[in-house]
């Protein structure tokens, strides 16, 4: 945390003496940090990297020449010429006394294998404590086993308050307190409630922080010695936290946060405790074939215990032959367009890539899509139109540099919990938080201004803010003149939207609207983050346009702590799109109807490709009902549960002649399948994933699959073989490294990555191993870029094609970014359809315009400049050798999203991210089953996890 928010000034080196040798420390680090860097061991208990130093345990005291008292090395900075003794007799005596005092009250029972107290006591040879007279020991609290995931044994507590700081200052959940006085001092949850009945959200950060096992995973899960630990990423949301699995007997014992760029060791309840789905008894373990004569109907209830009445088990050989045979028959009789495939935003990049390749080369059409269509498509459309890239402008934890943070239509505390911690940290450090949401979420507690406006009046409210900014002269004239076009029209448009006029519409007092507008416009750095509350509307694109216009008119982009961040929902929303799971795009957003792109991929894949864009998720369903799509292959998606109109979706799926579903649970979609292929859960395979910050990270295989389940990548390849494709991807984990290698050739955006030596079965940490050539990472954020200005933007050296940076938008529609009109959502289907058509037409028109083709829409096309000052050193605050301080990961941002994903609609989304505003019932899918509903977590309660029998 500290490391995140400090200014990036060059560090001042300080020469001083440590244990007699002259060493170099930094003025902004503590003595203990210097010692750690140099390998000098100083005992410590209350110190933990990432937490504010508290200096309470006093195990780390050192002797400083000329000072009367010993100094806690965790709280002192080196000064030039200082002479520090960390192991002098005096210092050691004190250090040992602290350890001895604490050991005196330790219980006989051990709650952890890694007590830091024991470790330091052994290192300093503190024998049996002299105070250990049992009769004189102080009273200790009774165990508290009320929490489902965490055991509290405060008799092992040493009052270091690491848990408190983790809970209050790192995660900002404000549950843990330090109550009472003196020797009665005690860690408490809320008002000394049992932990299980407190407002704890089970993020587990306190457990990770506890040095003595006083807080531990419940049921002694962490007492067992793991066979192995596997570094991986979290399979849940778009934040993409890095973590470590602790495995024993092919079971995940417990999970720890790892220092990744987006999480710096933090996790939330999902990443830390939401892994038992992997071991769930309803996992599919054998290929299933639908029994003859079992009808498919839209109305059904899933009964996992009677699966065998519908399906019979089969060998892989039989199931694959049948599955592929059914699809092949339809292709060969009804034509390629009678087939469609759905991939998944929860699968890896490699799976997404191979799946779309299978559809494009095996089915021979572009009918491939996935659930991202239903979430941020509207944001992407607006962003592409407004600034030329559909992706985020900077990573979430850049909020540490913001003065004002606007969160609108998003509930990150629940949906992106670790992202929310960065926001809360920033607010604690003094940033102002403006939360705009009709539904009050937990973040409101931290907000400087909370605007609980009337649902669906975003445009009114945002236009009123713009009105204020324009009429109070708060616009950034320079930025507008040099970086945007169309401002005059915007200005005219907002004329009619004074805060006073809009107040009754949106339900926010005019004065508040003005205050917030001023705050946003005049701060040194303002950032906007949004979620489904903005995008999942019939006019979601207009909502997003308003946000973009706000940022553009005030110039709140392109500097540290400024920008636009649509929070991505699932763990691989970004990567699945990058890899080409899109009907009108090849990987890296090359348009299928672009001859050059087509030729390139035809050459790469050695086959002819269909130049016609395929059908989208929603269109496929319509086409199935219309009898045009006859067969489908669904990998890891569950449209029968997550599509907008469930009856419609189920009818569509039931009407298919042939449905192959590849999943880890018997989902609603699988219920309607002819063949069900048991696949791999996240920890059972290796692959790369791209998070909301666009960092490509590696998920590593940690477990073997249950029963006869197989890795998805293997299944795709077997299906491909039976569709007549001659693929060869050798090597460990279904040839994932070779797939990735092929992707590198297909996609410039990841050209520099290496997924470890192909076939070696060992994979390096992708996000840290990139060999990408240094590429300017700063980006110009242009609203409606001016063609003249665009020429001034420096071309990218390695990509001469992109010399004409900057996208020109020439017709009236372009200014929509600025001219968001008031639109009210109607439920009237006809109106919706009309709107949809209009939006779609606009999207197509845009894509047909010169300069707005797929190539231009790609990332970076809007022009880049040399690294901005804020990227001169990595925002992750680490130094990266040999790279002028730029985090390799930042150079890895992958592609933007397609230009014509403009079918913005009010749709429920399949990601478990956030549902249509107003409906707001969350349905969290973990893995691919619907077994786990973490929704309850939002209310601060953890639903009892299904206990895995026999777990140690």
């Amino acid at each position: 945390m500290n490391s995140m928010s400090e200014p990036l000034a060059d560090r001042v080196a300080v020469e001083f003496k440590l244990d007699g040798r002259t060493v170099t420390g930094y003025a902004d680090e503590t003595l203990i940090e210097t010692a750690d860097r140099l390998g000098v061991e100083i005992p410590r208990l209350c110190h933990m990297p990432g937490l504010r130093p508290d200096g309470n345990c006093r195990a780390c005291v050192v002797e400083i020449k000329g000072e009367r008292v010993l100094a806690p090395s965790c709280c002192r900075n080196p000064q030039p010429g200082m002479e520090v003794q960390s192991a002098s007799e005096r210092a050691r005596a004190s250090q040992k006394m602290v350890l001895e005092l604490l050991l005196s009250d330790m219980p006989e029972t051990h709650y952890t294998r890694n007590s830091e107290l024991d470790r330091w006591a052994a290192a300093l040879e503190v024998g049996k404590p002299r105070f250990a007279a049992t009769a004189l020991r102080r009273e200790q609290p009774a165990p508290d086993l009320s929490h489902h995931a965490i055991a509290v044994n405060l008799d092992a507590c040493i009052q270091c308050t690491r848990c408190l700081r983790a809970c209050r200052e790192e995660q900002v959940n404000d549950v843990i307190g330090y109550a009472f006085r003196g020797e009665h001092s005690k860690i408490v949850f809320d008002f000394d409630d049992p932990m299980g009945q407190s407002t704890c959200v089970a993020c587990g950060e306190c457990v990770q922080a506890c040095p003595t096992g006083a807080l531990m995973p419940a049921r002694d899960a962490a007492l067992a010695v793991p066979d192995k630990t596997v570094d991986s990423v979290c399979p849940y949301c778009g934040v993409g936290c890095q973590l470590t699995y602790n495995i024993k007997d092919n079971e995940i014992l417990y999970v720890q946060g790892r220092d990744g760029p987006s999480n710096h060791g933090r996790l939330c309840v999902k990443g830390r405790y939401g892994f038992d789905y992997v071991h769930h008894k309803h996992r599919l373990t054998k290929p299933l074939i639908r029994r003859a004569g079992i009808p498919k109907t839209a109305g059904f209830t899933i009964d996992p215990d009677h699966v065998h009445e519908l399906f019979r088990e089969a060998t892989w050989e039989e199931a694959l032959d049948l599955a592929a045979g059914g699809l092949r028959k339809i292709r060969d009789t009804a034509g390629p367009k009678a087939l469609a495939g759905f991939g998944s935003a929860k699968g890896s990049n490699e799976e997404a890539y191979l799946f779309q390749k299978l559809v494009r080369t095996g089915f021979r059409s572009n009918n491939v899509d996935h659930c991202t269509r239903l979430c941020h498509a509207s944001s992407v459309a607006a962003l592409l139109e407004g600034i030329g890239s559909g992706a985020v402008s900077n990573q979430v934890n850049d909020v540490a540099h913001s003065e004002v943070i606007v969160v609108i239509g998003s509930n990150p505390v629940v949906n992106h919990p670790v992202a929310a911690t960065w926001i809360k940290n920033a607010v604690k450090k003094g940033a102002s938080l403006v939360l705009i949401d009709p539904r009050r979420s937990e973040l409101a507690r931290h907000a400087t201004h909370y605007l609980q406006f009337k649902a669906d009046t975003d445009v009114a409210l945002l236009n009123a803010m713009m009105h204020t900014i324009v009429h109070e002269g708060l616009v950034n004239e320079d930025f507008i003149a040099s970086r945007t076009i169309g401002y005059e029209e915007l200005k005219k448009n907002v004329d009619g939207y004074s805060p006073e006029a809009m107040a009754p519409v949106c339900g926010i007092p005019a004065a508040t609207i003005r205050t917030v507008a001023r705050l946003y416009a005049t701060s040194k750095a303002s950032i906007i983050l949004w979620g489904m509350g903005i995008s999942q509307h019939v006019h979601g694109t207009d909502n997003a346009r308003c946000l973009i216009a706000l940022a553009m008119m005030t110039g709140q982009v392109g500097r540290p702590g400024t920008g636009l961040h649509p929070l991505r929902g699932q763990n691989n929303v970004q990567g699945a799109s990058d890899s080409g799971l899109i009907p009108m795009m090849y990987p890296d957003y090359k348009r299928v109807d672009n001859a050059e792109a087509q030729a390139r991929f035809e050459k790469l894949w050695g086959t002819k490709l269909d130049p016609q864009p395929g059908l989208t998720v929603v269109e496929v369903m319509n086409a199935a009902i219309a009898g045009k799509v006859r067969g489908m292959y669904v990998m890891g998606e569950n449209p029968a549960l997550s599509d907008p109109d469930l009856n419609h979706a189920r009818e569509a799926l039931a009407s298919l002649d042939w449905l192959v579903v590849q999943d880890i649970f018997l989902t609603e979609t699988a219920y309607l399948a002819d063949v069900v292929l048991p696949a791999s859960a996240f920890p059972e395979k290796t692959g790369s994933f791209t998070n909301t910050d666009r960092m490509v990270q590696l998920g590593r295989r940690a477990l073997d699959m249950p029963g006869d389940a197989r890795q998805d990548l293997w299944i795709i390849q077997e299906m491909a073989r039976r569709l007549g494709l001659d693929w060869k991807y050798a090597g460990a984990d279904s040839g994932v490294a070779e797939v990735f290698d092929e992707m590198r050739h297909a996609m410039a955006s990841i050209g520099g990555h290496h997924l470890g030596a192909a076939g070696a079965g060992k994979f390096g940490d992708l996000s840290l191993r990139t060999r990408r050539r240094s590429r300017p990472a700063g980006r110009v954020h242009r609203s409606l870029p001016d063609a003249d200005r665009a020429r001034e933007v420096r071309p990218r050296r390695h990509h001469p094609r992109q010399r004409t940076a900057g996208r020109r938008l020439s017709d009236g529609a372009d200014h929509r970014a600025a001219t968001g009109t008031l639109a009210y959502r109607r439920d009237d289907a006809a109106v919706q359809r009309a709107r949809r058509d209009r939006t779609r037409a606009r999207g197509l028109a845009a894509s047909a315009r010169p300069g707005a083709d797929g190539r231009r829409a790609r990332r970076g096309d809007h022009g880049r400049v040399a690294p901005g000052p804020h990227h001169a050193v990595c925002p992750c605050r680490r130094r990266h050798a040999g790279r002028r301080g730029v985090h390799p990961v930042l150079l890895l941002r992958s592609g933007g999203e397609p230009a014509d994903q403009s079918g913005a609609r009010s749709l429920r989304q399949d990601s478990g991210v956030q549902v249509l505003r107003g409906a707001h019932h969350r349905r969290r899918r973990t893995g691919r089953g619907d077994e786990f509903r973490w929704g309850a977590v939002a209310r601060g309660r953890l639903i009892p996890p299904a206990k895995t029998p026999g777990k140690t």
Binding site: C57, A93, M97, R130, R181, S185
Partner: protein, 442 residues
């Protein structure tokens, strides 16, 4: 104990009850605490003068420095120097806080000042606020002396009504809002940063320093904290000049000091004497040793200071430097007198229990250490001591002192070391013979 024979002074007191040197408590008879009485004694003249003459703040601070007034709360830090630490030209809110959380065993001087001469504190604070450009102040009053708190509130009302507090004091440009605030009786809240936390509505737990209150104080704003007696001395200095104040005492030890004399003397009570007055004279003012017994030992500065054997004490003068030379500290000025009937083990046990009970529980050496100090002394007192216990106590005390977040750790450790140093044989006797060396007299 013979305490039963002692009857506390009840107002009205005889003239000169606080001693002939008294300045703060001069002419105090216990009833004349109201504004009118204070004005009759020349009260608020100092404030009126600096406001009428527009005395530059720097000049007041310079005067304070000259006076060598040292903080009366315990640490003896020069007040003028402390005032000069307040950031100048700072445009945000600054605070002034008076520490009336008097909780140190043996100390009861601030209570007397507050109940018998509250306007001296109010005037002192107003002058301090003027000197440091502060507009808001609080007086944090110990949470067990409710009547005193209420009286101070009354005095505040009087001062406000008469224009000595509030907006545009005495028609000048200077405004100062002063409020009373009461704690709930925790000793640790007398520690200045714990006091600030407590005022902010948090658990009274000392803060890690630096940063010091002058840069990060109440609500994170620059804050100056002084003891009640420190503020009460300010009007005299303004009226008579720093030089005159200094001359009352000794160099580096200016002015008068109120000593709370308690224990085995004939007339326990508060006595205000010039700095440098011989201990013997102070003892005499307090009526001498009760029943003419022999002085065994004296804690000259409040329970947290080292004990000094009687013979050394009899030679000592009552000022910061002299007492330091005698191996102790003047501290808050609580003089605890112990005659030869006192068992030193039991006395130390009583002190150890206090610190063990009052530790905030934040840092290991203090939280755990005070407990073990108490428990080990307890076992010695109860005849279960072991031979190694004295060394154990010493090494424990050594490793508490100077290793904690606040000085409570020191306060707990220093008496232990001094008691064992000066009365080791008594402790050893307890261990060896499982009973007290001192015959029980009463």
């Amino acid at each position: 104990m013979s305490a039963a024979t002692f009857t506390p002074m009840t107002p009205p007191f005889a003239p000169g009850a606080y001693g002939p040197d008294a300045q703060i408590m001069k002419d105090i008879d216990g009833l004349n605490w109201r504004l009118a009485d204070y004005l009759k004694r020349g009260g608020y003249d100092g404030l009126k003068k600096i406001l009428a003459e527009n005395v530059p703040p720097e000049k007041i601070i310079a005067e304070m420095k000259t006076s060598a007034l040292r903080g009366r709360g315990g640490a003896g830090f020069p007040a003028g120097l402390k005032w000069s630490f307040m950031p100048k030209g700072y445009t945000g809110q600054k605070y002034l806080v008076c520490n009336s959380d008097e909780g140190e065993p043996g100390t009861f001087k601030d209570r007397d000042i507050l109940r018998y001469n509250p306007h001296s504190v109010i005037e002192g604070m107003a002058i301090a606020a003027y000197a440091m450009g502060i507009t808001v102040g609080y007086n944090y009053i110990h949470g067990e002396i409710w009547d005193t708190y209420e009286r101070f509130e009354e005095a505040l009302d009087e001062a406000r009504a008469a224009g000595y507090l509030g907006d545009r004091i005495q028609g000048s440009d200077f405004s100062f809002q002063l409020h009373a605030f009461h704690g709930y009786g925790a000793y640790i809240c007398g520690e200045e940063t714990a006091l600030l936390e407590s005022m902010e509505g948090k658990k009274g737990q000392p803060r890690f320093k630096p940063p010091f209150p002058a840069s990060f104080g109440l609500y994170g704003k620059p804050t100056t904290i002084n003891n009640t007696e420190t503020f009460a001395a300010v009007p005299w200095i303004i009226n008579h000049g720093g030089e005159a104040y200094l001359r009352l005492g000794k160099p580096n030890n200016g002015g008068t000091k109120i000593f709370s004399v308690s224990g085995d003397v004939e007339r326990p009570g508060n006595y205000e004497v010039n700095m440098g007055t011989p201990f013997a004279k102070l003892l005499e003012m307090a009526g001498g040793m009760r029943g003419g017994r022999k002085l065994k030992g004296c804690i000259p500065g409040g329970s947290s200071m080292p004990v000094v054997p009687g013979d050394i004490m009899m030679e000592c003068d009552m000022d910061y430097d002299s007492i330091a030379k005698a191996g102790s500290m003047l501290g808050s000025g609580a003089v605890i007198i112990m005659d030869d009937t006192r068992c030193m083990v039991k006395s130390l046990l009583r002190l150890a229990y206090f610190y063990y009970e009052e530790s905030c529980g934040q840092c290991t050496p203090c939280r755990e250490g005070t407990g073990w100090l108490y428990r080990v002394i307890n076992r010695i007192e109860h005849g279960e001591g072991r031979n190694e216990d004295l060394d154990l106590l010493n090494s424990l005390a050594d490793n508490i002192q100077g290793r904690t977040i606040c000085a409570l750790g020191d306060a707990a450790a220093m008496p232990v070391r001094a008691f064992i140093k000066h009365y080791r044989d008594e402790f050893q006797h307890h261990i060896d013979h499982k009973r007290c060396l001192v015959p029980v007299y009463v």
